[in-house]
Amino acid sequence: MGPAPIIEARQVTKVYTMGDQKVHALRGIDLEIAPGEFTAIMGPSGSGKSTLMNLIGALDQPTSGDMLIEGHSLSTMRPDDLADLRNRTLGFVFQQFNLLPRANALQNVKLPLRYARHEHIDADARARECLELVGLGERMDHRPAQLSGGQQQRVAIARALAGKPHIILADEPTGALDTKTSADIMELLVTLNASGITIILVTHEPEVAEFAQRQIHFRDGLIESDERRAS
């Protein structure tokens, strides 16, 4: 017996209904992820990777089955508690960065701290610290349009880190970046993982997946394979 899983999916299914058509995006997923694991999820387009990430991220609810984060079942939580969970426990990194175009790097990183109601933190200091950590200490007052793709993704990672999350969910974080920049971003994620943050990453690129200790392959809404790399 290892430690209690930080993420646990129990017979999770997700069915999208569009008119009279039903899309079975997930057909019954059982999955346990231990604290501190770095997991890469791979698989063909439409196999349900993003769908699972949204369920883990408490952005959506499964059609059946149960999703547990740090032992708490998401299906029993109220919307405000889910919002607080996303704010405190989870950090998101998106393929398209999703930065506010009119705000500078520092303001973007401070955004999640606006919604933090649990503790009194110095938002400015915390945001600067996170930008330093991702190597953008010199670019704090730059707007997204004044930054390269890789730099924008670093800002997004700094933003995900601001609330001191236990889990980072990254859906194709390198999908819009070139190989060299992708490697830099992956090294950053590896560093973060080394500091204890659980990371789940979706990618199509085997080289990117190589950075993870565990690789899960999806096909047609089911887990096809689940391998841990001996380290």
Binding site: L59, D60, D84, R86, N87, R88, N98, Y115, R159, G163
Partner: protein, 409 residues
């Protein structure tokens, strides 16, 4: 999220799209400006009406001989029997009569030295000055004894001083009124124009009997005639009731049979002025209606733009939710934007309202009457519109599903 932070970013959003924000605010601006102008006009007109009423005597009833207008034809006052000095004495004995004054008036030519002046003459008694709350600034008014004996004394208005005496002190001087010499004993304080536009200071006032016996001449059949009586209703008596009792009392005195028409009229001056002011009130109602419509249209405009803004920023809302914003945080954010829009519109409207009230006061001829309350109510109206019309778009934003919002194209 703190409300102050929400307001700050709402102001940022307002500046991010300045032209659109301004166009959105336009309805609110017009609405608030008209709310303000309307209220300032109402206050100003009311203050002026009150001033006029008190100038005419708020509790004064005026009696004139002649019948009220009937069937579109006015019965001439000359045809009816005039009042007499006996009526004055009888009325003075009534419990609700605080003061009673009888008057005769005529147009006259007054001469001082080489200067001629056409003016109006009022023959009356000392009660006249009490009823009209009109006091001398130079000299004195006549004594009851001078009234009784018909002394050749005159109290004059400011315009007489200007036109007959070149502004010099006339007290002690003699003037000839239609060739009758009278000595000036007092000058009255300035009253200015009446609401009808006539100069109230262009008048010579002498004792009633002096006017009748030496200048105007007595009535053919009624020697001790009085053409007009003013009764100041004593404190503690209701003006309307006094008016009704006065009518009954005079019908009795003038032997009018039950069912017969009055051959005299009793005016309540306050009613008279208020009736004249009704047009101004109508205008106020019209403006109030316009203000309400403008505020409503402005509010719908704000709601429309807010709905567009919510749709445009669906992905941003989704992102904020992913980062941990609660529905209430999103709600506060959009309400703050509606509030900032309407509040700014309100401030601009208040500024315009000041200008509008100033113009209205100039053209209407009254004091500008903008109180802090009016300003606060106008701003409050803008804020209320913001909250009311911002609520629906804000709620729509707050109820978005995080994943649908995040993936919105």
């Amino acid at each position: 999220m703190k409300f102050s932070v929400a307001i700050a970013s709402a102001i940022e959003a307002l500046f991010a799209n300045l032209l659109r924000s301004f166009l959105t605010m336009l309805g609110i601006i017009i609405g608030v400006a008209s709310v303000m102008t309307m209220m300032a006009m109402g206050e100003g007109a009311k203050a002026r009406i009150d001033e006029q009423i008190s100038a005419l005597g708020a509790s004064t009833l005026t009696l004139r001989p002649g019948a009220m207008r009937r069937g579109g034809r006015s019965m001439g006052a000359g045809a009816a029997t005039p009042f007499t000095e006996a009526d004055l004495d009888a009325l003075a004995a009534l419990p609700y009569a605080g003061a009673v004054s009888g008057q005769l008036s005529s147009s006259v030519t007054a001469v001082s030295g080489q200067t001629n002046w056409s003016t109006s003459l009022t023959g009356t008694d000392d009660a006249y000055f009490e009823i009209h709350d009109w006091h001398p600034v130079e000299g004195r008014i006549f004594t009851p004894r001078e009234v009784r004996t018909g002394a050749a004394v005159a109290v004059v208005g400011k315009s007489i001083v200007e036109n007959l005496f070149d502004g010099t002190d006339p007290v002690g001087q003699r003037i000839r009124v239609n060739n009758v010499p009278v000595s000036v004993i007092g000058v009255l304080e300035e009253k200015g124009q009446s609401s009808f536009g006539s100069d109230r200071d262009d008048v010579i006032i002498i004792p009633l009997r002096t006017a009748r016996n030496r200048i105007i001449g007595a009535h053919r059949t009624t020697p001790k005639n009085v053409s007009r009586i003013e009764v100041m209703v004593a404190d503690g008596y209701d003006l309307k009731e006094a008016q009704n009792e006065l009518v009954e009392y005079m019908r009795d005195r003038r032997h009018i049979k039950a069912g017969g028409d009055d051959d005299f009229m009793v005016f309540n001056i306050a009613d008279f002025v208020r009736a004249r002011s009704a047009t101004q009130a109508t205008m106020g109602v019209l403006l109030a209606f316009m203000a309400a419509v403008a505020l409503f249209v402005g509010g719908v405009g704000v709601m429309n733009i807010m709905l567009v803004s919510v749709t445009e920023r669906t992905r941003e809302i989704g992102l904020r939710m992913a980062l941990g914003a609660r529905g209430s945080d999103i709600m506060v954010q959009f309400l703050a934007e509606a509030l900032v829009l309407c509040g700014t519109g309100g401030l601009i409207g208040v500024t315009l309202g000041f200008a509008g009230s100033w113009i209205a006061a100039k053209t209407g001829g009254w004091e500008m009457a903008i109180s802090p309350q009016i300003t606060l109510i106008s701003l409050g109206a803008a804020v209320a519109v913001g909250l009311f019309f911002g609520y629906f778009p804000a709620r729509r934003a707050a109820r978005l599903n995080p994943i649908d919002a995040l993936r919105y194209e």
